[in-house]
Symmetry: C2
């Protein structure tokens, strides 16, 4: 059994799509319980007409909402009755296993650390989204893409360990290949942080470190766990989005310019939908914030019910595989 608290008020499509995602997840597995956290009246309205198991869908009232415009630290400290603070508190108090939200990234990251708290030994909890790549599983993990910039080498070594555990036990990659983002393949290349981290990863006994990776090799499946500091991770993540969108726009524009193009465009439409699915982040559920005393998952601000349902199912695997305990065990091993 896994008990997931879902922020019913977070994201562009709240509460309807969030609530629908919860109902879909409940229908797909008997071992999931969901607590919807937010304004009771809004949640009940969104539930109207939907069919769901009453004993496994609970409501925790929270009158306040933290918006994406608010300064995260201030919002977490002041809005004690918000869906994010109340939801995270349920995880902290072990009344629930996981918290899922499409709301303010900043508030979720800050709240996860301040309220749920870090596993003993974890210096920084990284945010680790999956991105499409040509690996066997079709995805790679970028760790860290969070709000913690200016990382130290010891943080990156912990990211490598936590990312390996996640890819092995949640995604099912055997002996995941770990690489550090660099501007060249050679060990002597890189900025100060990479030069400092590289030798530490090399002697780290718990991971399958394969060396540096240049950014072009990330979509090409060059590694399963892509270690970098959050600023770089953020750039990687957003370049996926930006280049993907630009290419499709350019292709569309090119096809509309000629009759054969238009005809061909109609014929390839079904196949292109398959391609879009590959680039569709909703397929992979949300991005976990790793290293906390409980699971916190950030889903996209524009998440639909499908992404929400996938994120809830991801929490089930996370609990079944005992990821937090595995992280606690590995993080406190002293390296050789």
């Amino acid at each position: 059994m896994v008990h997931v608290v879902l922020d019913a008020m977070g994201g562009d499509n709240a509460p309807e799509e969030i609530v629908k995602g919860a109902v879909d997840a409940l229908a797909s597995s008997d071992s999931i319980t969901v607590t919807l956290c937010g304004r009771r009246a809004d949640i009940e309205k969104a539930l109207e007409g939907l069919d769901y198991p009453k004993d496994r869908l609970l409501i925790e009232n929270a009158d306040d909402v933290i918006t994406t415009e608010e300064a995260p630290v201030m919002a977490i400290r002041r809005k004690k009755d918000s869906s994010i603070v109340k939801g995270l508190t349920l995880v902290k108090e072990k009344k629930a296993d996981a918290f899922v939200s499409a709301g303010s990234s900043g508030a979720i990251l800050v709240g996860g650390q301040l309220i749920v708290g870090r596993i003993k030994g974890v210096e920084r909890p990284p945010l680790a989204p999956l991105v499409p790549s040509t690996t066997d599983k079709g995805v790679s993990l970028i760790i860290d893409c969070g709000a913690n910039v200016d990382a130290r080498s010891s943080h990156l070594v912990q990211f490598a360990k936590m990312g390996s555990i996640y890819m092995e036990h949640v995604i099912g990659v055997t002996n995941p290949r770990v690489a550090i983002v660099n501007i060249g393949a050679e060990e002597e290349k890189g900025n100060m942080l990479v030069k400092e981290t590289f030798p530490l990863l090399k002697i780290c006994p718990d991971i399958n470190f394969i060396g540096s990776i240049e950014a072009r090799e990330i979509p090409n499946g060059g590694a399963d766990v892509i270690v970098c500091e959050a600023f770089v991770g953020n750039v990687i993540l957003k370049m996926y989005e930006g280049v993907g969108k630009m290419m499709l726009k350019t292709i569309k524009g090119a096809l509309m310019g000629s009759f054969t193009g238009k005809l061909g465009g109609l014929l390839i439409k079904p196949s292109l939908k398959g391609v879009m699915k590959t680039f569709d982040a909703t397929e992979y559920g949300g991005a976990p914030l790793l290293g906390l005393n409980g699971l916190v998952v950030k889903v996209h601000g524009n998440a639909t019910s499908k992404e929400v349902a996938n994120a809830i199912r991801q929490c089930e695997t996370f609990k079944q595989q005992n990821i937090s305990q595995r992280i606690a065990d590995k993080i406190n091993i002293k390296d050789a």
Copy 2:
């Protein structure tokens, strides 16, 4: 008149494609002179059968070649008779205006600084390639993508000035929009370097600073001059390449899966070629190393004659527009 020294030995396709690029550039403009620098016998062999103006194509013999495997600083110091060292020396001695090479990036960057030397006041010469974007001109400048990592805020301010001059006078963008790469749009976001640089750019009188840019907005034409430190610039550049390649591979694979897909694929082929052209870096010539006492241009290692010819023509515009003098004038103005 512009006199360009071309490294005939650099790159995967040397000397044939390099020499052919020189001949093509000479055919396109009467005011270009090219000195091919490298092994005379190899160059003469590559010239066999080609038609070119003998008075505007010279050969400077250089018996040695610096390979991409060699440590740049060591190679520049020791291989005095290499095409890179001899070519750069011609620029330093004002016997030529520009040096173009598809050879070792590291050696070109190091050699540019050590041999040609910086314009007085320039702290660091940035490498600034053009990338495809949906701006009016179809390109944006990423500055810096060089080998100088761990930049300071004063470097980034200089990059913004030099990039503006280049985009305005070489590419023809009126009042180019300058933005700094960041992980959010707000001024208070970012790592230490960005937080330190942002207010300096804000008060810089010579540029049209529009604030932060998230990576996803770069392909989307969010700014003309994209300021960042070299590690981040390298990641942006290589993500273009990686995501672009992966998408085309995925689209191709999807089309081959069905009959209508195959048929549609045949029909869209001519249009797709147009798209590929947009993503074809060879269209834009090479990446200039800005801020030196003369122009140094790096073209891709796998450059064809087309890219080489474009890079040579770029040198002509650079000289006509007096870019080095403009940089010298602006870099030494103290900011308000």
